[in-house]
């Protein structure tokens, strides 16, 4: 039955078949028309080296996972949850608006071919259109000695290997493309996407699928496949594919880098400028250029911080970095750079001790000055440091002055606090306490000065009559007294101070209460501008 030489692309002169075949061979062609048996062509990508004769086990099914798009609009037709005449109304409505719902045909769905059982290759076969329009394809098979059987081909499917990794869709790819000058790390992009997916999956409660090795970017069974993707599609996919490949190779390279930078990434994925470190980012960091003598002094403190654990050290480094950046900015205009260098290095170890989880806005300045005081005790260069702190204040003069005022007021407390062994930094708790104390003293110092300012402001506004709200005080004797002590007011104005909304009383009640209080207080009556003002002399 088999005449191999015809069907193999060997040169016919290679003596394949014996017997006299010098003359033309005649075969009859018969058309095999079986309405029940439909023939289809499956084509694989060029150079993909798929050997069909080696297939022992194969399984092919239609891909129906993407077919549920239109399914969600069904409502129960009868019984609970249904509406009388709903179907008709829906149809009438769709006709009216000309909505055409295309029904998904199973014949147009792609094939999912699995070769070689569970561990084998998977292919997706998509239908190619337009093959039957201009010409027809037939499959010629040799049956018997002298006959060929021809069967018509119904449809053509192009099979491509199924993608198992995740890729960015168009919008994501475009977004990342926009940021390409910022982000060098492709590993990051997929991490972000994976984290997103993880969050979504968690909210949906899809924990089981979640757990299984989210480390690799493998596509799961239930994932929707993009029907547009395929080896035979053109332009639009090239960019995405290019990015995919880049991501793959970059991932390997950046993996090691990623380990180091993990801490920084987890801090904030939106914070792009800070997220990735390029080659020369931290060159300006002065810690790299620490001189020898300081190292010996600072070694002690460094060791202690190490004892506390890496956590502390990490945060220290953060603080270091951010503070070093601030310092660099603030110190741009400074004179003695060498002096600065010295001071900064001295500050660092002190900061390492002092800094921990506290993160108020002026914590850096706090720490700076607190560090300064640490150094004060040790080196006795208080004045020099004060001058420096003045200049380095980011917020300008105010913080500088704050620093100085702080230093003035709390120097005594500071001086007493450091233990001789450097026990300040020995425990986190102690350090935290220290900072709180400092803050407390600072706040206390500041507390008086801003408040009177505020009060003054409010008093100046009182004349207009709107004044400060009484939400805290309510309608009490105390509040009335305060108002009347500040300045003389008419009864009307006084009433205005207690709006009905705030105190929960209506107009009449307010009036009654106010009159009661006034009777108690018995203020003086002065006539100003023809109106009687009430006034309480303190």
């Amino acid at each position: 039955m088999v005449f191999p030489f015809f069907f193999q692309s060997q040169p016919s002169g290679s003596g394949g078949l014996q017997g006299g075949l010098q003359g033309p061979e005649e075969f009859t062609v018969k058309i095999q028309k079986n309405p029940l048996k439909k023939y289809n062509v499956m084509r694989f990508a060029a150079n993909s080296k798929v050997d069909m004769s080696a297939w022992k086990e194969a399984n092919m099914e239609r891909e129906t996972s993407t077919m549920d798009i239109y399914k969600d609009e069904t409502m129960p037709e009868y019984g609970e949850g249904s509406e009388y005449g709903r179907k008709w109304r829906e149809q009438a409505r769709q006709k009216k608006y000309g909505i055409n719902k295309t029904k998904l045909k199973l014949e147009d769905q792609p094939w999912l071919l699995k070769v070689g059982g569970k561990g084998g290759k998977r292919f997706v076969g998509r239908k190619e259109g337009g093959i039957n329009e201009a010409s027809s394809y037939f499959v010629f098979r040799q049956t018997g000695n002298k006959t060929f059987e021809a069967c018509p081909v119904e449809s053509w499917y192009n099979f491509t290997p199924q993608i198992k990794y995740k890729y960015l869709n168009e919008e994501e790819a475009e977004a990342e493309f926009e940021k390409r000058h910022k982000v060098l790390n492709y590993f990051n992009i997929m991490m972000k996407k994976r984290l997103e997916n993880k969050d979504e999956a968690e909210t949906e409660g899809e924990t089981e699928k979640n757990v299984s090795a989210r480390d690799d970017l493998k596509v799961r069974e239930g994932d929707e496949s993009d029907s547009d993707l395929g080896g035979f599609s053109d332009d639009s996919d090239n960019e995405a594919e290019g990015k995919k490949e880049k991501a793959k190779t970059a991932k390997k390279k950046k993996d090691t880098k990623g380990q180091k930078k993990k801490k920084k990434k987890q801090k904030g994925s939106d914070d792009e400028a800070l997220e990735d470190s390029d080659e020369g980012d931290y060159d300006g960091r002065e810690v790299d250029y620490m001189s020898d003598e300081d190292e010996s002094a600072s070694e002690e403190e460094v060791d202690k911080s190490k004892v506390d654990g890496t956590y502390l050290k990490g945060v220290d480094q953060e603080m270091e970095m951010s503070s070093s950046e601030e310092e660099e900015e603030g110190e741009g205009e400074k004179e003695g750079e060498a002096a600065e260098g010295e001071k900064t290095t001295e500050d660092k170890p002190a900061k390492k001790e002092e800094s921990d989880s506290s993160s108020s806005e002026d914590s850096d300045v706090d720490l700076e000055s607190s560090a300064l005081f640490m150094q004060d005790k040790k080196e006795g260069k208080l004045k020099g440091k004060q001058g420096r702190s003045k200049k380095s204040g980011k917020a300008g003069g105010k913080t500088g002055s704050k620093g100085t005022s702080r230093s003035g007021s709390s120097s005594s407390s500071r001086a007493s606090t450091p233990a001789p062994d450097g026990g300040i930094g020995s425990t986190l708790a102690a350090a935290a306490k220290k900072l709180e104390q400092q803050k407390g003293t600072k706040r206390a110092a500041e507390g008086d000065s801003p408040l009177p300012k505020k009060a003054r402001h409010s008093r100046s506004h009182d004349g207009s009559g709107s004044g400060t709200p009484t939400s805290e005080l309510g309608l009490t004797e105390e509040s009335v007294r305060r108002y009347l002590m500040r300045k003389p007011m008419t009864a009307k104005d006084l009433l205005k101070k207690f709006p009905t909304g705030k105190t929960g009383l209506n107009r009449d009640q307010t009036v009654a209460k106010v009159t009661e209080i006034l009777k108690k207080l018995n203020p003086e009556k002065k006539t100003i501008n023809g109106k009687i003002h009430l006034w309480l002399k303190s």
Binding site: P4, F6, F7, Q8, S9, P11, S12, G13, L21, P24, E25, E26, F27, T28, V29, K30, K33, L36, K37, K38, Y39, N40, V41, M42, R43, F44, A46, N47, S48, K49, V50, D51, M52, S53, W55, K56, A58, N59, M60, R62, M75, Y78, G79, G81, E83, Y84, G85, L106, E107, Q109, S135, S136, Y137, F138, V139, F140, R141, F148, A150, V153
Partner: protein, 257 residues
Amino acid sequence: MAKKSSDLDCKGSSNNLWLVKVPKYMSNKWMTVEDGEVGTLKINRRPGAPKPEVIFSLKEELAQKDDGKGSSEAPREHKFVLSGTAGQPMGVFSQTSADEAGSSSNGALSLEGKVAHRVDCRPVGGENYMKLKKLQVLDAMTPMRTTMQLHRAVTNNYKPVSNHANNLEVERRKKEDGKRSRADPEKVQEMLFSAFEKHQYYNIKDLVEITKQPIQYLKEVLKEIATYNLKAPHKNTWELKPEYRHYKGGETLMEQS
């Protein structure tokens, strides 16, 4: 090992096949034959040429058969140009379905073989071919739209009418039937319960239709046993009150009330 219907039968995976591209006029002719011969193939192996020369000759009577498309002019001889697979692995699989209708849903899949050669069927030029082409071109040149003269005037266009017959009919029926009369409230409730057994949500107009009651009266009856639903998804519909729901029959309730 259970055989799944989605298994691809790989028995024929080593068969070598030719995939032949055939022009439409030829395939039309071929399909008119019922399982019979359509022609002969002459395969001539020439020394020195890597691929054999194949010539297909159409059966004479088939060639002359005129199926109204000018196919009697079809050329008798065609060359089959063989070209290898050009690196693209191709195969043929078949789907056998039990009935004529759904072929994709329930077919038994089997791999028929792999394609060894892609073949092009080219007509050998000649008088017949030219005639065929001429006919084809003429066919393609005819415009899609033509003008026809009507012998009879079109009578089903709609003339303006003061009142349509349909409307008149409706009005007459309304007058005849008269206004709807109120039935006993219990009877109405009965009707309502049986209606609500079928569907949960009803529009007031539909209920009027079902119960044939005046709308105001029906509303009053409804207020006792049902609530009006204003929010989506079932907007402006009435549904039974929760205490009446899941009720097998309305009779017991009426006995109680």
